[in-house]
């Protein structure tokens, strides 16, 4: 199990875009189960007028996918930690020296996705339970598939996601053509 403090050592996202609370179980190289509690105090619920239909409070699908993607990222980063730690160009600074920490010099990006079906909405009070399975891993990219459950109810199927990791220095600070994906 990985608590939030350890998740922060693995992922570069920070509040309020760090959408993973706890890793329940992880089998490096294979799969991960991780949870995120949906709460009405999140920024996506700020400033809503009164009198809205109940379905207006559905947790945004964009954040559902992002949260799942972060579970996938943890799986991938933990699975490849040993290879990355031995890289000579790992980057300087205390944050980058921590074992398995990608926050120092790598930016983790959502590359592509396919066949992600939302079967049911999630609402404040629901705990999203992501199950992600690692598929093919290449240098700088990984495929992941899985599901999102709330309790026993499956609310989404994530058919296939591609995550990409790029050294921060390759991303232009302004303009430029792309972040290394051609």
């Amino acid at each position: 199990m990985l608590e939030h403090a350890q998740i922060r050592q693995i992922l570069p996202q920070r509040h309020p875009m760090l959408l993973l609370d706890r890793v329940v179980s992880i089998e490096p190289g294979v799969s991960i189960r991780a949870i995120k509690a949906v709460s009405a105090c999140e920024p996506c619920y700020a400033g809503l007028p009164d009198g809205l239909d109940p379905d207006s409070y559905a947790y945004p699908v964009s954040l559902l996918i992002e949260s799942f993607g972060q579970a996938a990222a943890v799986l991938w980063l933990v699975s490849t930690a040993s290879q990355r730690d031995s890289r000579p160009d790992k980057g300087a600074g205390p944050a980058a020296d921590a074992p398995g920490n990608a926050a120092g010099d790598d930016i983790f990006l959502f590359g592509a996705a396919r066949d992600c079906v939302i079967e049911s909405p999630a609402y404040p009070g629901d705990v999203l339970c992501h199950t992600a399975r690692l598929g093919r891993v290449l240098d700088g990219a990984a495929l992941v598939a899985g599901e999102i459950l709330v309790g026993h109810r499956r609310i989404a199927v994530m058919g296939s996601l591609i995550a990409a990791i790029r050294p921060a220095r390759t991303i232009p600070r302004r303009g430029g053509t792309h972040h290394g994906i051609t």
């Binding site: 990006l109 066949d115 939302i118 994906i181």
Partner: protein
């Protein structure tokens, strides 16, 4: 306005209007301006937004170095469609009034270029017809201000969202 977006089929769109602040849970206001056009049974929606590092959620993505998250382009498409469907449409494309449509499937998405603070992106979307179950498909391309394609997204929506609840 005829949207002069690279590679676009010219469908004259109405003048762009400010997108409403979403009246539903949303991470941020993901589109600034929305314009809608109709041609040959297809609704075309063109929306723009300037990436601003002080928008909600962005200070965490990432600290000291903002990149507009790919999922927020999905969000932008969702909000553009919601805003477009709130506007009056010609009789032949009249969508049944009723529940707000929401995303039921991300059929495919590719995120191809980084969007950074100050970048203006344009979403150019084609909205298909609703079927009897309230489902319709939206296909969109997202361009960065310099003309580079930032994303290609295909979503399926359904009136009232995934459940019948």
């Amino acid at each position: 306005m005829t949207a002069g977006v690279p590679g676009a089929v010219p469908i004259a769109c109405r003048p762009a209007v400010a997108a409403p602040i979403p009246a539903f849970a949303a991470p941020l206001r993901a589109v600034d301006l929305v314009s809608v056009g109709f041609s040959d049974g297809i609704m075309r929606v063109v929306a723009t937004k300037t990436v601003v590092s002080t928008d909600p959620y962005l200070r965490g993505h990432f600290p000291g170095f903002t990149i507009f998250p790919g999922v927020f382009l999905i969000e932008a498409l969702r909000q553009a469609v919601a805003a477009a469907l709130d506007q009056p449409s010609p009789p032949e494309l009249a969508q049944p009034a009723g529940r707000r449509p929401d995303i039921v499937e991300l059929r495919s998405a590719r995120f191809l270029a980084a969007l950074l603070p100050g970048d203006v992106f344009t979403i150019d979307a084609r909205v298909g017809r609703e079927d009897d179950d309230g489902r319709f498909d939206v296909e969109a391309q997202c361009f960065r201000g310099d003309g580079v394609t930032a994303a290609r997204i295909k979503l399926r929506f359904r009136r009232g969202g995934p459940d019948d609840a």
